[in-house]
């Protein structure tokens, strides 16, 4: 289990989580200012970042079916080379690595450092994941 308090526990630290978690949280939650303010709200353009919604589709079904069919192969032994290579590749890309490396204890500080170095890729990755999850 990975516990991610704001750096150092209660009371300190910047963001407790990665970009994907932030997007889950702040884009469609929180008080909406235009419920309170009518006159001077400035309609500043917000870059479109859709909240990710999971909708099961034929793609989802096929992916699950293929995962089921791979089960016995995986049980037969350690992952083959292609899987290993894929794991490494994905692990190197910011946001995706969070999925892959789940369960690995990561300090929030480390995550932020990773993020700083791979910002552009991470943004791209977020988009791609959203498409996959449609």
């Amino acid at each position: 289990m990975t516990v991610q308090p704001a750096t150092g526990g209660i009371g300190r630290g910047p963001s407790p989580s990665g970009l994907a978690d932030v997007i889950d949280t702040i884009l469609d939650r929180g008080l909406v200012i235009d419920a309170y303010v009518r006159v001077s709200l400035i309609g500043i353009e917000i870059l479109t970042v859709d909240a990710r919604v999971v909708v099961a589709s034929v793609d989802t079904y096929l992916r699950f079916a293929d995962a089921v069919n791979r089960l016995d192969l995986a049980a037969a032994g350690p992952p083959g080379l292609p899987e290993v290579v894929q794991g490494v590749k994905q692990g190197a890309i910011g946001d995706k690595s969070k999925e892959i490396a789940q369960g690995v204890l990561e300090a929030a500080g480390e995550k932020l450092r990773d993020y700083v170095g791979e910002r552009a890729e991470e943004r791209e990755e977020t988009r791609r994941r959203r498409r996959e999850e449609r």
Partner: protein
């Protein structure tokens, strides 16, 4: 005239706090050239704001992380009502005249309720191989389909694969509901409020937001830790927080006054 009424400059509002809150001098807001975080006070409430240039859209990863980072760091210390990302007013005066003054009592009451509390988010994701094995064991129809597909050609198997995948997806959805309910029941004694979030991934097992007394964080960690142990190798857990109570603030007066 406030500085905020200058051409091309707005006042970005992060959230609402009690009036006695102060911000450190080096705290910066959103934007390419972030300005200092400021507190605009009125009566017992205040708004956390910073000037923002209006010449580019908001919403870069930095902006999003900054918004949540500021609010979460605040929530760890003091009560805060977080605003949704992207609220910009024309001037500092507007923040008082339109936001703080007309809703002063409502905000003050909500901040009082938030005293000593913060939000935590529990995310659990199924380990794919484990959950798929469970589904095959529990669902003879799925196991049968799997065996049939083995003996078919790639094309002939497409319909069967779709049927199998749909069965699996439904089974996982049912597991998600059961497991979410179980965890929610265990967490209810620890939480002041709870909310079930929509899954954001097809292998999500649980996705919960909880409003918890910050003093009880250790207890919360203990309960989630127990489940992580019980479901080791089956569900990977993450516990986020303390953060601002994004899931628990609601506009009781939609449309304003």
């Amino acid at each position: 005239m406030g500085v905020g009424t200058e051409q091309g400059v707005g006042v970005y509002v992060y959230g609402l706090v009690p009036e006695d809150v102060e911000v450190s001098d080096d705290a910066l807001g959103v934007g390419d050239e972030p300005k200092e975080l400021e507190v605009i006070r009125h009566g017992k409430v205040a708004a956390l704001v910073s000037e923002v240039s209006l010449d580019r859209p908001l919403g870069t990863p930095d902006d999003l992380l900054r918004h949540e980072g500021l609010l979460d760091a605040t929530a760890a210390e003091v009560p805060v009502l977080p605003l949704r990302f992207g609220g910009v007013l024309a001037s500092r005066e507007a923040v008082v005249d339109e936001l703080l003054a007309p809703h002063h009592d409502e905000f003050a009451a909500a901040l009082k309720e938030m005293e000593g509390r913060a939000q935590y988010v529990v995310k659990g994701r199924y380990v794919e191989q484990t959950v798929l094995r469970e589904v095959l064991e529990e669902n003879p129809q799925a196991a049968r389909l799997r065996d049939q597909i083995r003996d078919m050609g790639e094309d002939a198997a497409r319909d069967a694969r779709i049927a199998l995948g749909e069965l699996v997806e439904r089974a996982i959805t049912a597991k998600r509901q059961t497991d979410t309910q179980m965890l929610l029941e265990a967490l209810t004694p620890v939480s002041a409020l709870s909310a079930v979030r929509e899954p954001t991934h097809e292998l999500d097992a649980v996705h919960l937001a909880l409003l918890v007394e910050k003093e009880r964080q250790a207890k919360l960690e203990e309960v989630v830790g127990d489940f992580a142990e019980r479901w080791a190798g089956r569900v990977e857990f993450r516990l986020l927080g303390p953060m601002a109570a994004y899931d628990f603030v609601m506009s009781s007066t939609p449309g304003g006054e």
